[in-house]
Amino acid sequence: MVNTKAEDTEIVGAKSNNKHNRIRLLLVDDEKDFVNVIAKRLSKRNFEVTKAFSGPEALRAIRKTDFDIAIIDLKMEEMDGIEVLKILSKMVPELPVIVLTGHGSEAASEEAMQYGAIEYLAKPCDFEELFNRIKEICVKTGGVTNV
């Protein structure tokens, strides 16, 4: 089995992604099967994936870990993705966030962009496309080259 859970308890500190060999990614979605399979696939591609199945869980994880990128669903039961985005934009304004949702509409996409999302992708999304987008964003924002 591949280790998918980020176990480290590193204190959130200054951003310097160069220190890490792997990209640390937070994946937030209440669709557990989806989270699990994406996590597996990304891990296989050398990502360090932290899974969160709700908004509050995601916020807790962010307090613990300094992520390079986050992928968030919009419609979640406990806390709406937009709410999470709002909080994230205050907590970690420099964190690039990709919105990946099945409830895609232009209005939702605009709203997500407004609250700091850097990219908007509709489910079901081609995995290669998602992968490429993540890479591009990481290179742009953090100078990561080793993916």
């Binding site: 669709e31 399979v37 296989k44 099945g102 232009e106 209005a107 079901p124 081609d126 995995f127």
Partner: protein
């Protein structure tokens, strides 16, 4: 069914309107005619009875004058004097000079012998003792006889009077010229058929009638039906014509002066009035019928039109409601399906990832696994497209306004399909229309509409055909017509063509959303999209978009 309803309503309205118009009109015209006829008849009767009265007066006067002069002569002269033929002739001349109308004059002694006679007949020495008039004179003193034949065998009547001298009595007798008398009577004749004559109490003619009768023949008129004064009676004659008779008794009720008048002749004027009235009433009726039918038809037609418009509006409302409900449902379904689809897609991807690992490389069925996974991906993609279409349909956002050049949009859209069309030998013809204004609209949405229409047209043709696109500018709208010579749309499908998920394409070929999405886009822009289609000949879609002038930047 509908048509019959309106036809029924029309019939009822016409029937009721005609009924309420005709009943008073006919009642009124009949009453007026009846009153007029009564008045007219009254007038004729009055006229004829007036003539009878006047005529009877003059006849009475005629008789009185002659009686009076005869009386004067008898008073003035003695029997001896009168028995001289010369004297009697002189008197006869005086009488004829003064009043006229005498034929002869005779003196008769008490034994009835005609003593002296002046006149054309050979009546001298004739004895009148046994004649009925002789005794009438003896008993009454003065006597005007009925017409009789007498010795001369010619109808005539006499005025006779008796005078008493000391030892004897004598009678002076004059015969009235019946021509003069008849002429007098007949002055009361009027019109072509009017008549005036006299009958006695027993009903024998005393004067000749205008047409026919023999004097002294029996009249078929019963004198007893005529009462005192002047009486007017109505009788049918042998020819079936209605004759009015005015009768007035003369000469101490011995003679009846009758003035007859053909009522039919007099009534001609009434008939003319009747004809005129009938013509006017008929014309009125025709006008009422015409106007009623015309106005009722117009009203019914308007009613039908407004009903139809209302029904159309209702149908549109129902249609939009249906679309809105379906749209909401589609959106819900789409969202719910996207998540499982995403899981399926990712699980498939994960399996593919795993297949790259060494342990699977030697598996006999590796190729089959890969193929199956690939198929799953293909079908997930297919499902994703359907869902995407549904979401597009459900999208209820306001169009995003930008400057749109319809010509450019159409040409761009054509270019998307050009190579496909060329390989299938389909020519798409559009001459850019320089009149089209730049409008404020949503470029991509309009492009989606035309793309849907053109894709449908291409699919409808299949191979070998032409798509003609034309555009026109009206005052407030732009119309774009997309015409293909493809297979056409069957009539029964035409009303459902804009419904979501309605498609005639093979399963998997079309989602049935293209036209309903286009319909919604155009509707949201305030335009319309309509179709005309004939099976086997082709289809014409007309898109009308309002001209919205872009704001100046």
């Amino acid at each position: 069914m509908k048509r019959r309803l309106y036809a029924n309503l029309q019939r009822k309205i016409i029937f009721v309107t005609l009924l309420v118009s005709f009943i008073p009109l006919i009642f009124l015209s009949v009453t007026i005619y009846y009153q007029f006829a009564q008045m007219f008849k009254g007038k004729i009767e009055e006229q004829i009875s007036y003539r009878a009265r006047v005529q009877s007066n003059s006849i009475e006067l005629f008789l009185k004058e002659r009686t009076a002069i005869l009386l004067a002569m008898a008073d003035a002269y003695t029997f001896d004097y009168l028995s001289d033929k010369n004297n009697l002739e002189k008197i006869f001349r005086i009488m004829n000079n003064r009043v006229g109308g005498f034929i002869d004059l005779g003196l008769i002694d008490s034994s009835g012998k005609h003593v002296t006679y002046i006149g054309p007949y050979k009546l001298l020495n004739v004895n009148y003792y046994s004649e009925p008039w002789f005794h009438e004179v003896e008993s009454k003193g003065v006597y005007v006889s009925d017409v009789f034949m007498g010795y001369r065998r010619v109808p005539h009547f006499i005025i006779a009077l008796q005078r008493q001298e000391t030892n004897k009595s004598w009678i002076l007798r004059a015969t009235i010229d019946s021509d003069v008398f008849e002429t007098l009577v007949r002055t009361a004749q009027v019109g072509k058929t009017g008549d005036a004559f006299i009958v006695n109490k027993a009903g024998f003619y005393q004067t000749r009638m205008r047409f026919g009768n023999e004097i002294l023949s029996k009249s078929n008129l019963n004198p007893t039906i005529f009462g005192e004064g002047t009486t007017v009676q109505e009788k049918m004659n042998a020819e079936g014509r209605k004759i009015l008779y005015a009768g007035r008794w003369l000469k101490n009720n011995n003679w009846l002066l009758v003035i007859s008048q053909d009522a039919t002749e007099e009534m001609t004027r009434l008939f003319k009035t009747k004809q005129m009235e009938i013509i006017i009433v008929t014309a009125g009726c025709l006008m009422i019928i015409f106007t009623t039918i015309f106005t009722t038809r117009m009203t019914i037609r308007r009613l039908e039109n407004s009903d139809r418009k209302m029904n159309e509006l209702n149908a549109q409302l129902v249609h939009s409601d249906k679309l809105a409900a379906l749209g909401k449902m589609a959106a819900g379904v789409a969202h719910e399906i996207n998540n499982p689809l995403a899981v399926i897609a990712e699980k498939t991807g994960w399996m593919e990832d795993l297949l790259t690992e060494e342990e699977f490389q030697n598996s006999q069925n590796l190729g089959e696994y890969k193929k199956s996974l690939h198929k799953i991906e293909e079908h997930v993609e297919r499902a994703r497209k359907v869902i995407h279409g549904m979401l597009g349909f459900a999208r209820r956002m306001e169009p995003h306004l930008e400057d749109v050049d319809i010509n450019k949009v159409i040409n761009e859209t054509i270019s998307f399909l050009e190579s496909y069309a060329r390989t299938n030998n389909i020519s798409i013809i559009y001459d850019s229309n320089p009149d089209l204004p730049i409008i404020a609209s949503d470029h991509s949405q309009i492009q989606q509409v035309f793309l849907n229409l053109l894709t449908n047209a291409v699919d409808a043709i299949g191979k070998d055909g032409t798509i003609n696109i034309s555009s026109k500018r009206h005052d407030l709208e732009i119309s774009v017509i997309v015409k293909d010579n493809g297979q056409g749309i069957p009539k029964e499908y035409q009303s459902r063509i804009f419904e979501p998920f309605f498609t005639t394409k093979k399963s998997g070929k079309g989602t049935g959303l293209g036209l309903s999405v286009s319909y919604n886009i155009v509707r949201n822009m305030g335009g319309t999209i309509t179709l005309e289609s004939e099976e086997g000949k082709g289809t014409i879609f007309t898109v009308k978009l309002p001209v919205v002038v872009p704001e100046k930047k």
